[in-house]
Symmetry: C2
Subunit: 115 residues, 2 copies
């Protein structure tokens, strides 16, 4: 039985960050959770096309890395809420700088196409 374990520390903090947020849907998940606490089903609908297994895995990894908090209400029918930890919320600055840079790349590409 493989116990969930947090991403291994690499030599460089930048790579640590990359390992944690580098998953296919992770920045999107974080993006949504920055606005709201959300349930599993809400996330499934927001992340158009993600499968339950994949969403589950990404969330467990984020949880293991201390970015996401999982609150299980232990009810029937099941109810689980996901939110960001303080560490997760502190990722906003990183995402903002990445978004700013990504935007300049996209602008540059548009210019190249029209030239």
């Amino acid at each position: 039985m493989p116990k969930e374990q947090a991403t291994k520390t690499l030599t460089c903090p930048v790579e640590t960050t990359l390992k944690i947020i580098g998953g296919r849907w992770k920045v999107l998940i974080i993006h949504f959770l920055l606005n709201d606490t959300m349930r599993f089903g809400e996330l499934t609908r927001s992340l158009n096309g993600i499968s339950a297994r994949t969403l589950s895995k990404q969330l467990r990894e984020l949880e293991a890395d201390g970015v996401v908090h999982r609150k299980d209400f232990g009810e029937i029918p099941p109810k689980v809420e996901y939110s960001l930890t303080p560490l997760g919320r502190s990722l906003e600055q990183v995402l903002l700088s990445m978004e700013a840079w990504g935007s300049t790349v996209e602008k540059q590409r548009t210019k190249r196409k029209s030239s």
Copy 2:
């Protein structure tokens, strides 16, 4: 002949950034090139353990994405220098914020271990 093509634009600028710098060695390559223009062999030695094929591929991708500039001197023996484009240099802010966040993660992990 498979033409090198830049990473496809995704819905979100953050994912664009991730696609471009998400490769196994890319942030390290950028890190070194922020300090210096470097030759292929220098990079090989700096990135301990990377194979020629892998380094070549990562560099071509970074070049296709407009981050790295490749200058071939066309001499025998071959001499090629790699440097960052202005766009590549503008990544420094992104790497700094990622490094800052990654450091806090590592500190937190250390605390957890010692508790």
